[in-house]
Amino acid sequence: MTVFLQTLVAGVLIGGIYSLIGIGMSLIMGVMGIINLAHGQLMMVAMYITLVLFNFLHLDPYFSLLIAMPCLFLLGVFLQRFLLNPLMKIESILPENQVLMTVGIGMVLTEIARFIFSSDYKSVKTSYSSSAFFIGNISFNVPMCIAFFFALALTVLLFWFLLKTDTGRSIRATAQDKDAATLMGVNTGRITVITFGLGSSLVAAAGCLLLPIFYLFPDIGGPFTLKAFVITILGGLGSTVGAIVGGVVLGIAESLGATYIGMGYKEMVGFVIFVLVLIFLPGGLKRLTKV
């Protein structure tokens, strides 16, 4: 029983961070209809910002949220405004020109990071990095719990923003029907720029929260892009609620897989779910929740 509960706790906690990574991608997917394949690489950039702040200014990684998130928002805005939006006007054989562009952006970001920081593994060591508290026999890793609650808070904030503010409503309108939104006077060009910035800053938050737990190297982006992609499909393309559920489901599935099937098959579990969802539930979890 302890084994099962501990596995579940580990899964839910890591699932919180996965959700945060997935929401950003889902948001971008919803509004622009493209998969942002540089998502993990944007997270990597945020992690390096956090690392530099930690090494030179001794800023706590959690405090860096306040700096890394705006930085990545600006980076996202820049990428969308000058690299992705111009592509929309160009007719090409592949309608998803922008997706190819994001792949390129991801590679460039990785190589720039390698150039500046080299391929070495870096990690931040904080006083709480490996501290844990216990409820009964179950251990809760402190930074993982903090990350989970930050993820929760940021999600609530995002929902408030999407539901209550003007810009938020415009984002939802654009996601539902771009042409109609344009006709109703929504500046959809500006909305896509804001959305990409927002998605980037969410994944930046995930990066800051992950750094005290994990370590960092330039190629860390790829696997996380893949995770975000699986979560987005799992949750239903473009659904933010779906992404949250998808993230937690992926976290739990990986944990259970690692405990009961084998640690080496952890990644496989995620992809098996991915394939099963595509076959049996093509709309993702969104279909079940109807949100």
Partner: protein
């Protein structure tokens, strides 16, 4: 017409220029070294490169080889076999090296050794340790370090004489080195009568080892044996500490567990951890302590067995080239097989034993992290510090 003449002239100059430059550079003897300088094994590559550089400086200061300067062309294999293959092909065809050294990860070394054998290029491996590399009957491949299955011999002795465990858990990275070490340790445990209750492979680069560690805790084994590279090693120990796993002993199967970076990353969780190793500066080999001191003075950091392997390999290469009748492949191969010298890593002699060709016999030792320092604790007659055992893990971790 004039234009065409000029163009031809330019082309000719260009071709001659290309031909001339290697001719000019021929006063050095070029040896290629393949190491991971970037990627997840970069730390190991770094410590080996620094040791190669240290040795090279000394060799050239002492007159080089046959009156010429020795030159190491160090190429980055990034830890990936396919990159390893292509850099070796470049070293052989473009740089025209006369022999190769280096070879860190087993997977890359295996690929590189294949290319070398095809091209009849003598290759002295100093770290890549999967058993099958020297079991192929490749006559151009020589190995300085013992095979992976022999890394744990000293650990097995210690288990038998001091700890006397009943149950063992083996966690290993599912790479060539990890699986091959885990398999042989598993066989040794069964032979010695210890029960292996769990043998689990994992994908390198995981965030969360807690699911598998929870199972380890539940099984409550006497020994947890781990084969990991450095970042996974640190995470495994940090998370074991978090889950309060308290076996009689945690043992690392070399690789990640001896690097200074393991101690830096794992912090207090690295304390009292045992690891198999192939070298320690207190060993009574001539120059071992000198090498350690020189390394610390030059790079201001500690060195361990990977560095010593590289340092010794550099001296073996110099010795082989001095003895070789010419720098033809055949002659270098012959000189390699006649090697019989003493290095900081111990005596080096390539012989055939246990299905393996051109394999040096080297002993293994056991080290323990005591007060943040890597100390040799086994075999007893060579040990500098006594083996700290038993350990109260929970108290040490501050619970």
């Amino acid at each position: 017409m004039k234009k065409r003449l000029m163009l031809t002239g330019l082309v000719l100059i260009f071709i001659f220029g290309l031909n001339l430059s290697p001719a000019l550079a021929q006063d050095t003897i070029k040896v290629g070294i393949v190491l991971p300088l970037t990627g997840d094994q970069a730390k190991f590559g770094e410590i080996e490169k620094q040791s190669f550089d240290l040795a090279l400086g000394e060799i050239n200061a002492a007159g080089g080889v046959k009156g010429k300067k020795l030159e190491f062309i160090i190429e980055d294999d990034t830890g990936r076999p396919e990159v390893g293959r292509s850099v070796v092909e470049k070293l052989i065809t473009k740089d025209k090296v006369i022999m190769l050294g280096g070879g860190y990860s087993s997977s890359v070394t295996y690929a590189v050794a294949g290319v070398c054998q095809q091209n009849q290029m003598p290759f002295l491996i100093n770290t890549g340790s999967a058993d099958n590399i020297t079991e192929k009957g490749w006559d151009y491949i020589f190995r300085l370090n013992p095979p992976a299955s022999k890394y744990s011999t000293s650990v097995e002795e210690l288990l038998e004489q001091v700890i006397k465990p009943k149950t063992v858990v083996i966690l290993h990275e599912n790479s060539l080195f990890g699986t091959s070490s885990a398999k042989s340790f598993d066989e040794q445990c069964t032979k010695a009568g210890y029960k292996v209750v769990l043998k689990e492979g994992y994908e390198a680069g995981g965030i969360d080892f807690k699911p598998v560690l929870t199972r380890v805790k539940e099984l409550n084994p006497d020994i947890v044996y781990m084969v990991s590279y450095v970042m996974d090693a640190a995470l495994l120990m940090k998370q074991s500490k978090e889950l309060k796993i308290a076996p009689k002993m945690f043992i690392g199967g070399g690789a990640g567990f001896t690097l200074p970076e393991f101690q830096q990353n794992a912090g207090v969780a690295s304390e009292k951890i045992l690891s198999a190793t192939l070298w320690h500066q207190v060993l009574p080999f001539p120059g071992a302590m000198d090498y350690y001191k020189k390394f610390v003075a030059k790079y201001n950091k500690e060195t361990e067995y990977h560095g010593a392997e590289a340092y010794a390999a550099a001296y073996v290469i110099a010795d082989v080239l001095k003895r070789a009748n010419s720098f033809k492949n055949e002659d270098i191969k012959k000189a390699l097989s006649e090697t019989n010298m003493m290095t900081v890593f111990g005596p080096v002699k390539f012989t055939t034993w246990d299905k393996m060709n051109n394999q040096n016999k080297a002993s293994s030792y056991v080290v323990q992290w005591i007060d943040g320092k890597l100390e040799m604790v086994w075999p007893k007659d060579l040990a500098a510090k006594s083996f700290a055992y038993p350990v109260d893990w929970l108290k040490q971790w501050g619970y």
